[in-house]
Amino acid sequence: MSELRELSFSAAIHEALAQAMEADERVFLMGEDIGVYGGAFQVTGDLIHRFGEDRVRDTPISELGGAGVAVGAAVAGSRPVYEFQFSDFSMLAMEQIVNQAAKMRFMLGGKVSVPVVFRMPCGSGTGAAAQHSQSLEAWFGHVPGLKVLEPSTPEDAKGMILAAIDDPDPVLVFEHKLLYKIKGHVPADMYRTPIGKAVVRRKGKHATVVAAAIMVHKALEAAEVLAGEGIDIEVIDLRSIRPIDTATIIESVKKTSRLACIYEGVKTLGIGAEISALIAESEAFDYLDAPILRLGGAESPIPYSPILEKAAVPQVEGIVASLRDLVQGRI
């Protein structure tokens, strides 16, 4: 029965939040317009009616204070899930996330833990322009003490939110806005998606593609196209930005001898840089038959014009062409 359940990505997160709140009264939600408004992307939806204002807290527009209050509540025994309306606004709260939450356990000699979850709607494609379209996961992936997740399917979205809420450490979950509406199978029970494990979404032998979130879907599309040409691409869904599941990637590259990293964030110092470096320093290096390809976001802010916005992030056609060149030795 639950085999047949289909939910949207946002409904899956909504279900995870509801189940966590049902199961543990310490769990509560904070954020801007997550109450009667239901959240800017309608993820919290009706939760305020089910759990009331105390557990679904509309905050003033105060990201530093709001996120910091979540951190303080976590240290003091509650289980906050803080929603940034757009992950771009987390810039106002970097101090509390990175100087406080990420370091507190270490600085205090392991005497406290900080079980806070930050939900980070991210990505471009909505015409919201430069300040509402960023993919900042690489910043947080650079911070010891944090865990950073990026689901690509409704099933993982639910499982990662539940795993994040269970986890005693600060966890950020990046939710690509264009994924909220996609549908997929979502089990009804309270399962957790393991933190730090990548998954092979498509088996292949000619090249390995590592991607996350929406880029997994674009990579799979590209792989379909190339399959028609007899090019067989293996697609790995990274899922966890920190920690990174290096073993799964190494194993795949040893088999395919070719690696491409596809990501929406700015190319320079984006997650593809780390994937590439991890392989280039690993035992898999000797197996490489071609340079490591990176397709990342353009070195520009995200523009408003739809034409330019499309040009600023990897698109399927470009991915197909680049992977073809990679496999046919033209790179």
């Binding site: 109450g35 009667v36 527009i61 015409g127 322009a129 430069a130 353009a298 523009p303 330019l308």
Partner: protein
Amino acid sequence: MATKNQTKPDVSGRNLRPFYASHSPAQLKDALRRMHLIRRFEEMAEESYVRGLTHGTMHLSIGQEASAVGICLDLSDRDYITSTHRGHGHCIGKGAEVKFMFAEFFGKEEGYCRGRGGSMHIADPATGNLGANGIVGGGLPLATGAALAIKQRKSKDVAVCFFGDGANNEGAFHESLNIAAVWKLPVIFVCENNQYGMSVSTVRSTAVKDVATRAIAYDMPGVAVDGNSVADVAEAMAAATERARRGEGPSLIECKTYRTKGHSRSDRNRYRSKDEIEDWKSRDPIPVFESELLSHGIVTQAEIDGLRAAVEREIQDGFEFARGGTDPKPESLMQGVTTTGDIAEGIGA
């Protein structure tokens, strides 16, 4: 509240309040024209969404035109403003042309930002408009900094910072007002309190009833005025501007107003009542201003009709101009990222 104390009698011999006494009929008619232009621009912008001509989101200020116009009326192009995500009114109030605004909406090269910014970033440096902002409170330090630059070059210009009631709970509000006060900068902080930050009422978000009260925390003058009355807004602004130009420092003006449209396209208006909306509509700033002008005999109904017709033409022409605009070329993506890149491409700063 200090203001220009010129007074003069109106047609019926009544003494006119400072706002009417200190502005010529031409100036007052232009103020009304700008309010109509803002209103029609936004109605047309909304329509173009429905017709799928623009993407992204947009925030309409319908119902708030009095504060935009009342604040900008006496500013010159050398005075700066920083605006917000709800900035069309400020932009037009400061002197922007609707055709370039429409072009920006449609993502065209002819747009104020060459189609790179869209509704949330429209700016017009030529008229001193440093831009709308996608970040709530983002303009507060920027306006304060512009005021510092003004002071450093020893000019008498001012910087005006528009922000919303929701923005008044951002740390940037506190830090900016404190710095402006300590350094006596020529900046005027204008809070457009439309009662809600998106879905959250000021009662639920803000510990004080009047944002203006917070001026006490910075030892600066703070006044709350009827934001639907151009006269009230402009008189408060006159006092603040005089103070700033005298070198006495910043002021905070709170304009109590209301947005009759939803926060943005996706708003379902779950957080407020129809009655509340209707009640505010009955105090629409445009009819209010028109009836004052008529009763003072400053303008005739015929003039109003003429002015509205002219606005309509400007809107239609601007809309057509924008529709016929040029789409950016994908290859031009990197332009404007840095000056180095631009100089390399030969377009320069």
